[in-house]
């Protein structure tokens, strides 16, 4: 998928030493390009992350302070509590659903955007994001009006002679809210992958397999796979930790992972257990994400 060092036979004759030199020079250059971001993330992310790791073995004092003594594995033992498993499973199901719906809505939009004239494309991309420059809470408020028993959906149903419908405080409301909130995180990467796709390939495919659908399935979709994968990860992970939308639109009627972690850090002021939960979530997710990206890369 990327320009890794070519060792195809057609390359110009090179002596092994020259090749090794070139490889070393390239590695050095790559490291230099990576350095600013790498340095930044190490200092302002990896080092702070160590604190979380250390805290997960610490003890909560009776006033809720974290005591850096009596190191123990109690917080990790608590992870096997059936309550934690139940909460995690429920969150994963919700995140999968949200991701799939986001993909189904985003792909046609991203495809449509990518096939417009260049100026329209940029405009449309900005149009996708503008609603999110308002305020999160205000948008969620507006959804409460739309989904409530006096909202337009309910009024439409009543005008048609039906019952008032209240979507607010249901799982459907949670899904609508989450899909709404995370849609741009899917649209943008999918669009980025589709934009300037080599359409001559698509045309060739269309000549080859007559129906457009087959051409899409065999050529376009696989080519856009990196965008789909990136988008799914960007939607899936934050959904797993979402807690404000489920609370405001769904009435927080069930506990989700994000909610549970927040309540450990804030209400219970139990930093060791909150840290252990976070470490566990991050390890599982990181493994899943890396496998997912590798798999996706191979299908190309």
């Amino acid at each position: 998928m990327s320009t890794e060092l070519r060792d195809e036979p057609e390359a110009v004759e090179v002596t092994p030493e020259l090749e090794a030199d070139a490889e070393r020079a390239q590695a050095r250059q790559g490291f230099l390009v990576a350095l600013p971001a790498l340095g930044y993330l190490i200092l302002f992310f990896a080092v702070p992350l160590l604190i979380v790791f250390v805290y997960s073995f610490a003890t909560r004092s009776s006033t809720g302070r974290t005591l850096l003594q009596d190191w123990n594995l109690d917080s990790y033992r608590r992870l096997w509590d059936p309550l934690v498993g139940e909460i995690a499973l429920r969150s994963v199901v919700l995140a999968v659903l949200t991701t799939v719906i986001c993909l189904l809505l985003s792909y046609p939009l991203a495809y449509y955007m990518a096939t417009r004239p260049p100026k329209t494309r940029n405009l449309m991309m900005v149009l996708v994001l503008i609603p999110f420059w308002s305020n999160f809470l205000v948008r969620t408020y507006a959804w409460r009006v739309l989904l409530g028993s006096d909202g337009p959906i309910s009024q439409l149903s009543q005008a048609l002679g039906g019952e008032p419908i209240r979507i607010l405080f249901t799982n459907t409301a949670v899904l609508i809210g989450l899909v709404y909130g995370f849609l741009p995180l899917m649209v943008i990467p999918v669009y980025a992958a589709l934009e300037r796709m080599d359409w001559s390939l698509v045309e060739a495919a269309r000549d080859l397999y007559a129906p457009g659908w087959a051409a899409f399935r065999k050529v376009t979709f696989p080519l856009s796979m990196p965008g789909v994968i990136a988008g799914s990860v960007l939607v899936f992970i934050p959904t797993l930790g979402a807690y404000v939308t489920p609370a405001l639109l769904g009435g927080a009627r069930t506990t989700l992972l994000g909610d549970y972690i927040v309540s450990q850090f804030l209400a219970a002021r139990n930093q060791p257990f909150g840290s252990a939960l976070s470490v566990a979530v991050m390890v599982v997710m990181l493994i899943a994400v890396v496998i997912y990206f590798r798999r996706g890369g191979r299908t190309l």
Partner: protein
């Protein structure tokens, strides 16, 4: 690009260092005199919790600036203070005062510098979280009770937690009821309904409370700490568990205010008190004392309350209060109320109990 990035980071570093505070020696509370100031006031408060005119009046009278910052939870504020971020005056709630005192994060107040402390209603200087009010001065208070839509529930109901926990009642209400999404408040309400104290710390009792909420859950539309008052006045729920201040404001703004009442259940309700306190790493301790004194003034205290619609702990302010506020809090004093107290190691159980009750 590398150069640009380095430039950017160094620009940031400059911005960061430019924000560095003044290193002036902080004075000790004992040396503060009445009306003295020792620098600008860094005031860390809840959003929209003070009439901006009071801030301006203080600035004009004492010639110092008030720099306002805002927080959205006691716990976020605690983390910042524990982290050593320097503020001169904070407004922690009752149980948080208790925690901060035991963590030695609060300055003992010099009452000699706060002559208006005498205006305080004695009920608010003898609270369990800070008996004698040595570290905190009550700012505003309120209760946690039930907002009831009488058009849906009927005029004839008993002020009891049964309004939210008894399925025989709640199944009759269109839209159901809402409870706070707060471990202490919500588990506390269930405990009180079962006849225990809000601060009960017995695991068996808590398990009973969990079962109670699970049985009532079909008719609980939402666990909502944010917009329960709007849900109530929009007719989404028939009964809402929530804080008095939001209830009074929302009911007052509703289309038909007469359809709604706020009641304190007879089994008991939460009394909450927000307090002014000075963190130990405050830079302008004397200005903070002067500001506390300024807000405890009879008329300033009334201005605060008439703007906020919370209860005033200031006895001298009562004559300047709007009738509406007086009426709303009239029966609070006689009601059966309790303040939430920090339960130390047992505290984590409330959080798990609520998570379990909702599962």
């Amino acid at each position: 690009m590398l150069k640009k990035a380095i430039l950017m980071v160094s620009v940031l570093a400059v911005i960061l260092s430019a924000c560095g505070g003044d290193d002036g020696e902080a004075s000790s509370a004992a040396d503060c005199e009445v009306g003295a100031t020792d620098g600008d006031l860094n005031f860390y408060n809840w959003s929209e919790y003070i009439d901006p005119e009071l801030i301006t009046a203080f600035e004009d009278e004492y010639g110092v600036s008030v720099i306002e910052s805002f927080y959205e939870s006691n716990e976020a504020m605690l983390s910042q203070i524990q982290g050593g971020v320097s503020y001169d005056l904070i407004v922690p709630s009752d149980y948080m005062v208790n925690i901060m005192i035991s963590e030695e994060l609060l300055v003992e107040l010099n009452k000699d510098a706060i002559p208006n402390f005498a205006n305080m209603d004695s009920d608010f200087t003898s609270q369990p979280y800070d008996d004698g009010a040595n570290y905190s001065a009550a700012y505003q208070y309120g209760t946690t009770g039930l907002g009831v839509n009488t058009a849906l529930v009927g005029e004839d109901f008993e002020a009891s937690w049964a309004l939210v926990f008894d399925p025989a009642l709640t199944s009759e209400y269109p839209g159901g009821v809402s409870l706070l999404n707060d471990p202490r408040e919500t588990m506390g309400a269930a405990l009180m309904y079962l006849g225990y104290s809000l601060n009960d710390a017995d695991a068996d009792h808590l398990a009973e409370a969990v079962a109670l909420i699970q049985d009532a859950k079909d008719n609980i539309a939402a666990f909502d700490s944010d917009q329960y008052d709007e849900s109530l006045t929009a007719g989404e729920v028939a009964v809402a568990h929530g804080y008095s201040g939001n209830m009074i404001v929302s009911i007052g703004e509703a289309d038909n205010p007469d359809d709604y009442v706020y009641v304190l259940p007879e089994e008991g309700a939460t009394l909450w008190i927000d307090n002014m306190a000075i963190p130990t790493n405050a830079a302008s301790v004397c200005t903070a004392h002067t500001f506390i004194d300024f807000l405890l003034d009879a008329e300033n205290g009334a201005t605060l309350t008439n703007w906020n619609y919370y209860g005033s702990p200031n006895a001298a302010s009562q004559e300047f209060l709007d009738q509406e506020v007086i009426d709303f809090y009239a029966d609070t004093a006689s009601a059966n109320t309790e303040v939430i107290e920090d339960q130390g190691d047992y505290e984590i159980n409330y959080t798990d109990a609520l998570a379990e009750a909702k599962s």
